[in-house]
């Protein structure tokens, strides 16, 4: 129990430390240029490189959703409503969640392994010895990049899923593409889009912060790196689902 409290305490302390360091990292002093460069590199690594895989996965998810749902609606002669369900499920739920899971495997694990290896190689200690704050230098660029790129990835994922649903509807359900698009656009409200993106931003912070935290906590050589990398994936996915549940409940309560 004490270990769990310590774990969460340490994690929230890192989050606070990151928040405190964001301003100085990106705006002040000579290290600014380096920080922006770092941020750019991380955005590329965490986000841009995940685009193909997120697109592929979300395309399939959209198609699966359409194929699974259509037979039920067909019983009532309402096949076009499939587009409504695909759109709502994607924008409110599947888009941010599935993109986040992909990013966990792609970016989160890589971050934990990278920072863990730096711990093992005395690099973090060397950084502190040079009065360079590892939170400002390593954690901030990753967390900010995670937040921004998760939002972008979710937009890409949403569109890919809608396209997947469209392809499945046209090929298998004999729904017209115009009909599908019209239904989807009619049901979607700006709120659906915004809530999905708000979730995505929080997911991005969660994925990268947990990865950095567990990376910095690596002890005991290569084995420790492996252990904390797999812990990162498991903990992050559990955390994503829990936070998603909280979000969905709050949005439900607020009627958003």
């Amino acid at each position: 129990m004490r270990a769990a409290i310590e774990f969460f305490g340490d994690f929230f302390y890192l989050l606070l430390d990151t928040l405190r360091a964001i301003g100085p990292a990106l705006s002040s002093g000579r290290g600014r240029l380096l920080a922006w460069r770092n941020l750019w590199i991380q955005m590329n690594r965490i986000g841009v490189e995940s685009i193909p895989i997120v697109s592929l996965v979300m395309f399939c998810i959209g198609a699966i959703l359409a194929i699974q749902i259509a037979p039920e609606f067909a019983k009532f002669g309402m096949v076009p409503v499939t587009a409504d369900v695909v759109a709502l499920a994607t924008f409110r739920e599947m888009g941010p969640l599935v993109s986040a899971v992909v990013m966990t495997g792609f970016g989160g694990a890589a971050i934990a392994a990278e920072i863990g290896t730096m711990v093992v190689g005395e690099e973090i200690e060397a950084m502190e010895a040079m009065a360079i704050d590892p939170v400002r230098f390593l954690v901030v660029p990753r967390v900010v990049a995670g937040m921004l790129m998760m939002v972008c990835l979710t937009v890409v994922g949403d569109l890919a899923a809608m396209f997947g649903g469209l392809v499945a509807s046209v090929l298998l359900l004999h729904l017209g593409s115009l009909q599908y698009t019209q239904h989807a656009l009619a049901i979607l409200k700006v709120g659906d889009f915004i809530t999905g993106l708000a979730k995505a931003a929080v997911f991005g912070v969660l994925i990268t912060a947990i990865a950095c935290f567990l990376g910095l906590k690596v002890r005991g050589g290569a084995e420790g790196v492996g252990l904390n990398t797999s812990k990162t994936v498991v903990f992050t996915i559990v955390a994503l689902i829990l936070v998603d549940l909280i979000f969905t409940s709050v949005f439900f309560y607020l009627g958003v």
């Binding site: 000579r30 730096m118 005395e122 060397a126 950084m127 502190e128 010895a129 040079m130 009065a131 360079i132």
Partner: protein, 277 residues
């Protein structure tokens, strides 16, 4: 006698039940080269981490120019760290950066110098350690000794007046060892740098030290000049310096009864001083 630059006052440190230091005292004076000796696992390298403020101590004080590390805020601690160059055991170069970027990083972070000047400095310091032709290589492309020399060049980039070396010559060939030794001597003679060297290479220790301190069982068993360490009859010092097998200096792994463990008995069941054959 000048005022000590660094004072260790009654330092105790435990890792769980394991005692690392107990009531440790030491003064380090400006301009001197102090060599800390001790067996493997005696806490020599840990002492450098304590001096840098990386590791909290359980009791006592580390005073830097009279100010306790415990009382320092972030800014003060950073300014202390900036004034010290540290050479880590493995060099601790950043693996994702080339040597050039590694050397430039601390200067870029802490000064307003332009990139051209920083690059020039990097080349000068790499030339000093004989690595200039490898400036654009990643650490993974360098040998262990080269990484160490690269780490030393990086430690020098901020032109520190205080240098901590953690096993600077371990694992190096004789020529590199001599090269690093000469570099350390030059830094001391030309810049008046204060150096704390952790090593168990007695040849380098005698060559470089003004004073030596032997860490044993959580305390300094002996602190003295090179002359003292060469001539004293203290059995502990003699055993360590001469590399004898028999004497009071016990390898930690020898402290538990090897036979008792092999026979599957608990240690306290073994009668004290009685052979268990």
């Amino acid at each position: 006698m000048p005022e000590p630059l660094i004072q260790l006052q009654g330092i105790s440190k435990y890792f769980g039940d394991r005692m690392i230091y107990h009531d440790l005292h030491l003064d380090i004076f400006p301009g001197e080269t102090l060599v800390i000796l001790g067996g493997s696992g005696s806490g020599k390298s840990t002492l450098l981490r304590v001096l840098m403020g990386h590791l909290k101590i359980d009791a006592g004080h580390v005073l830097i120019r009279g100010r306790s590390l415990n009382d320092m805020d972030r800014r003060e601690l950073d300014s202390w760290r900036k004034s010290v160059g540290v050479l880590f055991q493995t060099g601790a170069l950043f693996n994702s950066m080339t040597l050039r970027e590694n050397l430039a990083l601390p200067v870029r972070e802490h000064t307003d110098l332009d990139d051209q000047t920083i690059d020039l400095m990097a080349q000068i310091y790499l030339q000093l350690v004989g690595l200039r032709e490898h400036i654009d290589k990643l650490p993974a492309e360098l040998s262990g000794g080269m990484k160490k020399r690269g780490g030393l060049a990086r430690a020098l980039m901020m032109q520190p007046r205080i240098l901590f070396y953690d096993e600077p010559t371990a694992g190096l060939d004789p020529i590199s060892t001599a090269q690093i030794g000469e570099l350390i001597m030059n830094l001391k003679n030309k810049m008046g740098a204060t150096s704390v060297l952790v090593t168990h290479d007695m040849q380098s220790a005698f060559q470089l030290a003004d004073r030596l301190a032997l860490l044993f069982d959580g305390k300094f068993a002996a602190i003295g000049s090179v002359e003292y360490f060469r001539t004293t009859a203290d059995p502990l010092v003699r055993q360590f310096v001469d590399g004898r097998l028999d004497g009071p200096f016990i390898n930690p792994s020898d402290q538990c009864s090897y036979k008792a463990e092999l026979l599957g008995r608990k240690l306290h069941e073994v009668p004290h001083g009685k052979k268990t054959t």
